[in-house]
Amino acid sequence: MQSQLPLYPEQASNFAPHVDALMIFITSVCVFFAAGITIAIIYFFFKYHRKQADAVGVPIHGDPRLEAAWIIVPAILALGMFSWGAVVYVDYRHTPSDTLDIYVIGKQWMWKVQQPNGLKEINELHVPVGRNIRLTLASEDVIHDFFVPAFRVKMDVIPGYNHYNTMWFRPTKAGRYHFFCSQYCGTNHALMGGWVTVMEPTDYAAWLSGSGASEANPIAAGEKLFAEKACVTCHLANGTGRAPSLNGMYGAQVLLADGTSVTADDAYVRESILQPNAKIVAGYQPLMPAFQGQLTEEQIIALTAYIKSLQSQPVPAKGSGVAPVKGAETAPPTEKR
């Protein structure tokens, strides 16, 4: 257990032991050098204290060997710190594939969390212990930052059509831990925090199903929006509309008008809704209006969930703009000339 005055927060994620080990390594090196310098200064200060008013020191102009030593030794140690730090960071920035996906939306000055089944939480985040968790971060207004000290991780939450930051971690210890907004975001920045509850997987499953999740099914909400915003008038399911069918689009490679292709992930879907002209699907005209500023982040997440759910449905005749790559498609899309 922690004492009354702890020096480090609880270790509750896969990253925490690595970050703490880095901390101990760098602290040791730095304490060694700081102590060396301090002791040398204090020793010289007394040892060579001026004894006679007109005394002068011994003129020593320098020593190239010493200079070389105190350039090379710190450089090697610094390289060690850099490399070790890089290993931890690269691990953090490469999300594993088997994650439990949770959406986190920051707005002045609260956090909205959406569990995979659509269950919504405010300033609370429930996660199961031992599972890789990926948070997809979106902001409704200014830049925020999601920071869990016990997990030793944080990531900025950035507004804008080309940013969907994600972060991941694997909780290792059940309990309740603070999370904070750590990017200054205006008046109540300090109040924009909450609690992460790490639960045993069975407790988490029970909590998830027992909390009336059905009323907030994001797919249903997305389907409703898809009709309300008239998406459905062009994005016909059978591929005969003015816009590509979205069936089976999510996760596939989309062929673009400029000849390149792009993986249809969350960021692509988001960009295509907010700034449709940024990437035009091959064979289609840039007709779609931009929805920038007209949808909340929650609505975008709902639409994305709905589009994702269309994955299992058959790809229609005219095609969905999906490039014929990988072996995933049930019926290869027709080539357009």
Partner: protein
């Protein structure tokens, strides 16, 4: 036994820069082109901003005594830390050493009559005053709550405070910095006295040369960036506003491209001050002159290539993060070189315990901690945790307050006899230096721990488990405040009642000590010719020393 040579009773020179044109009164100050008088104009104005920023800091520390916040509303707290940062960084730290000590000393140190462009020098003070007025107008008409970093879209869209005048003020003030840098570079290149070769330049001048490079190359970028944020705010343009297709992260790149090197604008001149004080009070040549000189230039150059280490958790590409982390470690090396060389200079010195030396050694201690904790933040894996926490707050205060301000106050003590012609009480000022050192550590060391425990920056309230360390920090700040107030009182006192210093009280080897204290308006009666190496006490019979000193081995260590 006295540690300073017994010197004769001096008289103030009959005519010097302070009493020339005395009859013209305030006019003779406001229209002066004398670099020494302009330095004093700066001294007065940066002190005003230091005082304003200091009051804000005091209120911040009192507020943080209790977890829920003891003093002010969240809005007010946010304004306090923002205005503290803006006042201290743009209007105190950046101009402090260059515009006060640099302005006063660089021409005298190189044996020139003035800076290359005396009228531009005066202009840069007026620009500073105009910029400062805009900022004070912002402070007094609603205040500023964006953080000194002005991150968009908070500053350009969402903030309801007086952002526009503040941004205009900082934009205007930038020109003051640019013109000062320009003046220094041209002066050092073209106006050195006969015999003052580049490698005879005092290291103070090398440090200011490097600083000037950063001022000239960096300042325009931050000026334009803040102007763009201001334009976005005033005219709803979409440079950084994501809902208009702008990129909020672009702002951070542009902002830090200047604002990281700006840290070196603050600390390089302080390193220059320390490089003068250490050899003077150890009475021996500085160890590794050329390494210290070159490391100043290296810091200025590499310092431009590390800005995105402020952005490791913005989602920037992993490759960019790796590059910027690596370069950040690289920039640590020249700083380390300086610290090692200063320490080595003490070896076999004749070390006096005069006040400037106490300040300089205090600088080394605090700057070392500040610099070493930079290694924690440059470490990618560790920065994920400590970024934007109190660890960062502690780190940069160690550099900018422990380092730059300690250097500035130490420099004031070193050159005060030259500036005013008078000495200040020695024991009291030694005491003040120690109070400053202890108070500083008590204030900011607990913040490293707070940060690692996870307390984010810029919080007007905090969970109760962080209270003990916050109270400790506030207690330290009250000691720190005493450390700043004491010199303010006795230095002002000394201007009238201090003992007359004479031209070279320490004695030191630089050219500035070969003229009267205070110097005449034209600095030297006759243009000096330099025929000695820097910090050379052995071949300077004019200093009246040597007699009792230990003999050097003949060219022993060269």
């Amino acid at each position: 036994m006295s540690t300073t040579p017994p010197f004769p009773e001096y008289e103030l020179p009959e005519s010097h820069y302070l009493n020339v044109g005395y009859g013209a009164g305030i006019r003779s100050w406001l229209l002066t082109t004398d670099h020494k008088r302009i330095a004093l104009l700066y001294l007065a104005s940066v002190t005003v901003f230091f005082f304003i920023g200091g009051v804000f800091a005091t209120l911040i520390r009192i507020h943080l005594l209790t977890p829920e916040g003891a003093l002010v509303s969240p809005e007010t707290y946010n304004k306090l830390f923002t205005m503290h940062g803006v006042a201290m960084i743009f209007f105190f730290l950046i101009p402090s050493i260059p515009a006060v000590l640099g302005n006063f000393l660089i021409p005298i140190m190189i044996g020139a009559k003035d800076l290359a462009f005396p009228r531009i020098n005066l202009l840069s003070w007026y620009i500073y005053i105009i910029g400062g007025s805009f900022v004070l107008y912002s402070f007094s008409t609603g205040g500023l709550d964006t953080g000194w970093t002005f991150y968009t879209p908070l500053s350009s869209i969402y903030s309801n405070s007086a952002v526009t005048p503040a941004v205009i003020g900082i934009f205007i003030n930038g020109f003051s910095s640019i013109l000062t840098g320009l003046n220094f570079i041209v002066t050092i290149h073209t106006m050195r006295a006969p015999g003052m070769t580049w490698f005879r330049l005092p290291l103070f001048c090398w440090a200011h040369y490097a600083t000037s490079l950063v001022m000239i190359l960096g300042t325009p970028v931050v000026a334009i960036t803040l102007l763009l944020a201001g334009l976005e705010r005033m005219f709803h343009l979409g440079f950084f506003n994501p809902s208009m297709g702008g990129d909020p992260i672009l702002f951070q790149h542009l902002f830090w491209f200047y604002s990281h090197p700006a840290v070196y604008i603050m600390v390089l001149p302080a390193m220059g001050v320390v490089s003068e004080i250490i050899p003077t009070f150890a009475r021996k040549p500085i160890f590794g002159y050329s390494f210290i000189a070159a490391s100043s230039i290296a810091i200025a150059v590499i310092g431009f290539l590390v800005w995105a280490h402020h952005m490791f958790v913005t989602g920037e590409s992993t490759y960019a993060a790796l590059a910027f982390s690596f370069l950040s470690y690289l920039v640590a090396i020249p700083s380390a070189i300086k610290v090692f060389n200063w320490t080595a200079t003490l070896y076999k010195g004749s070390i006096s315990w005069d006040p400037p030396m106490i300040y300089a050694l205090g600088f080394i201690g605090l700057f070392t901690i500040g610099g070493l904790t930079g290694l924690f933040l440059a470490c990618l894996g560790l920065d994920i945790h400590i970024h934007d926490t109190y660890f960062v707050v502690a780190h940069f205060h160690y550099i900018m307050v422990g380092g730059a301000v300690m250097g500035y106050v130490g420099g004031l003590h070193f050159w005060w006899p030259k500036i005013t012609g008078r000495l200040y009480p020695k024991t009291l000022s030694q005491f003040a230096a120690i109070v400053l050192f202890i108070g500083f550590n008590l204030t900011f060391f607990p913040q490293f721990i707070l940060g690692y425990l996870g307390m984010p920056r810029r919080y007007h309230s905090y969970p109760p488990e962080f209270q003990v360390l916050n109270v400790l920090s506030t207690a330290g700040a009250s000691i720190l405040a005493l450390g700043y107030l004491l010199p303010m009182f006795y230095l002002i006192w000394s201007m009238r009642y201090g003992k007359i210093a004479g031209p070279n009280p320490w004695p030191a080897t630089g050219l500035e000590w070969k003229t009267d204290s205070p110097p005449p308006t034209e600095n030297f009666q006759v243009t000096p010719v330099v025929d000695w190496e820097p910090y050379d006490y052995r071949n300077r019979p004019d200093l009246g020393l040597v007699a009792g000193g230990p003999l050097a081995p003949a060219h022993g260590d060269d």
